[in-house]
Symmetry: none
Subunit: 419 residues, 2 copies
């Protein structure tokens, strides 16, 4: 079956936002085995939306429309699809109530226009939106399928995961299964290089690599008659990739994130953790705390941004900072050791670095970061040199710290077993 996308929104045409939804949806559909030949972007204009729908319906079987489901007059995707298909809309009482509850909870006034989102095309399947007020819809008519999805990425992605993927799977002939091998500490070109022989001889399963904020994901996709046969095709390939990259691989679980893999490891082994951050300023703790259940292992963290706070809170001597500067392996190590004075956590991580935008009087290059990690008192420090702007350096530092935590904990665990 041929699928095609229509992205609706003047903000895309004006260059106000990057169309990451195109990337996300293309990925989803190609991994499910659907062929996609065309994508269109069109503004919030009735005539042009209708034109685009007509063109897409001529050449594709499944038309996914993204955006234009909001409450304002500019939002008209649903109205245009119904006009094209000659379908009426009726008020959906459940959605109406959900919208009222949403606004009541937020303590915000509800306008008449908000009720527009509760209108449901006749004969359509309604897709609940747990992260916003715009439901999605699937409409099957005259052998064509129209899928209408909201524009905000978090709403789109959750709705796609919960409803669209399971639905599309029923439309695909055969079964497509995929496993994503998630790794850190290697760059994409190196991964491609080390998998070249496998990529060159791929037919089924196929192998594709993706770059993701300091991580590389290798997706292995198999097509077969049933789930069991697909998994049988996947297993040896995934095993081979895992064995080639060893400790770089942190998970093959679709739901896992780098931080959840670290928190899982801590919880499973009854290890508590604390963070002392300088340049990352709380982002490392912030990512750890995004994992539900982290409260079992994370009690407190500190952001020691100034030199004074490194002295006062962590007891690092003025002389040491003067001699080595705050961005040094020595200070990263002393941050870990100093933290143990106020927090008896089993794992202590420190980050200190120069995120930019410009270098300071110390001549340390922008992007230089030191990460310290102590497990039960055994402290290691690593030096990193990241490229990019302040935001990118800080994000990379957080990812590297999580990956280093994982490695240090695994090392400690294997030593305790062997020792």
């Amino acid at each position: 079956m041929k699928v095609e996308f229509i992205f609706v929104g003047t903000e895309l045409l004006l260059g106000n936002i990057v169309n990451t939804n195109a990337f996300y949806l293309s990925n989803v559909c190609s991994s499910l085995g659907f062929v996609c030949y065309n994508q269109s972007v069109v503004g919030d204009n009735r005539e042009r939306i209708l034109e685009t729908i007509e063109m897409s319906a001529k050449r594709s079987d499944i038309i996914i429309l993204n955006g234009g489901l909001g409450p304002t007059e500019d939002d008209m995707t649903k109205e245009c699809v119904c006009e094209y298909l000659n379908i009426k809309m009726n008020m959906d009482e459940d959605t109406k109530k959900a919208i009222e509850a949403y606004f009541e909870k937020k303590n915000m006034p509800l306008c008449d226009s908000n009720y527009k989102q509760a209108l449901k095309p006749e004969g359509s399947m309604l897709l609940k939106n747990n992260n916003g007020t715009a439901p999605g819809f699937i409409i099957e008519k005259d052998g064509k399928i129209f899928i209408l999805l909201p524009g905000p990425p978090i709403e789109l992605e959750n709705m796609t995961k919960d409803y669209v993927i399971p639905y599309l799977k029923t439309k695909s002939d055969g079964v497509i299964n995929s496993v994503t091998v998630k790794m850190c500490g290697v760059c994409e070109s190196e991964v491609e290089n080390r998998l070249k022989d496998m990529i060159d001889r791929q037919t089924n399963p196929t192998i594709a690599t993706y770059c993701k904020e300091g991580e590389v994901h290798v997706r292995v996709t198999a097509k077969a008659e049933d789930e069991k046969s697909a998994n049988k095709l996947l297993r040896p390939i995934v095993k081979e990739i895992k064995s080639r990259f060893g400790v770089n691989v942190y998970s093959t679980d679709d739901e896992a994130t780098l931080e959840s893999s670290v928190v899982d490891l801590l919880v499973a082994n009854n290890l508590t953790v604390t963070t002392v951050e300088s340049c990352t300023g709380g982002l490392l703790a912030g990512r750890l705390i995004n994992v539900p259940g982290v409260s079992e292992v994370f009690k407190e963290g500190r952001i020691t941004y100034s030199n004074k706070s490194k002295r006062k809170t962590l007891g690092i001597k003025k002389r040491i900072i003067a001699e080595h500067t705050a961005v040094s392996a020595e200070v990263a190590e002393l941050m870990v050791k100093g933290a143990s004075a106020f927090n008896k956590a089993d794992v202590i991580v420190s980050v200190t670095g120069l995120a930019g935008p410009s270098s300071d009087s110390t001549n340390i290059p922008v992007g230089r970061v030191y990460i310290g990690c102590g497990v039960k008192g055994n402290v290691k420090v690593e030096e990193y040199n990241f490229a990019g702007n302040r935001e990118k350096v800080r994000a990379n530092a957080v990812t590297s710290a999580l990956f280093m935590m994982r490695r240090c904990i695994l090392e400690y665990l294997s030593e305790s077993v062997n020792g």
Copy 2:
């Protein structure tokens, strides 16, 4: 003049890469005052590329094709445009020499296919590529303009800056200028409602609203003969919007973020700041620290995630937490007061809430967050109820905390002036 984009590349359809070029080119064209109604993405397929070119040439004056200028058989953008326009190609000797020099410098073997890139459509203008081997081309024929640009962002962006923008300026009538009014604490539908009269009578300038992670941006765009006249059109509209939304507006500066507006306010008034975070776990400090120059006002922050840490670090009595729970206005207030014991900052912000995914034994609903903000000892607490998953609740809490900080600081400043 109407401009439209065709992005050529199967990698876009498969979801292997994000189409950041669409964002870049849309921005360039809209800021030059060109109207863009459509964008298409098409794979590396002769028939479908020709179809898309034909469709685009029917409805637009300037067609910008991006990608498909490489040396391989898959690259056929130039060939397709020439086929559509019935134009021959000839070897361009300068480009041929440049390609030979490029490969010699890199010490790489040159294949016959590489010479394909030196073929120049008859009557076209060649755009030199200083970052790769594929030149770009501008072809004017039968009242239409075709601009062919390479796919790699660095090549595209430099070529656009050097040749395409100067060329397009000669084709643009007038200047387009825009101002974005950035606000917080209101939802998009409310903003539209309160601007409805202005939006309804808009022609020039135009007014458009955008939702952005807890913020609403209103972009006002004016078209005029020159910069000065455009700004004259913008000024009264921007002023009116600002007066309607008062404290909700945090900036009209393109470069400003909510956090930079808070940090600027702190720096300008010589106010230091600290954070004590529970559910946001460092993300608030992390966003503040993303602003260069924050070190002048932010020295240290704490993440007091567990009840024990709220007791130990902030001195909040066990009895208080037992009585009110950790997610309460009382605890938010005591977090601010407790923080002053170890940090004499002028502004102290606390966040405590239940981010989910599930409620705990206290029956507090997921999404309930209390934010405390003290300025020079005067502490306020606000209750919020956010919708969405753990990540969204936390992100919303951070945005609301920043916005509350801004309001409290402004209030303090106006009181000091009046008092």
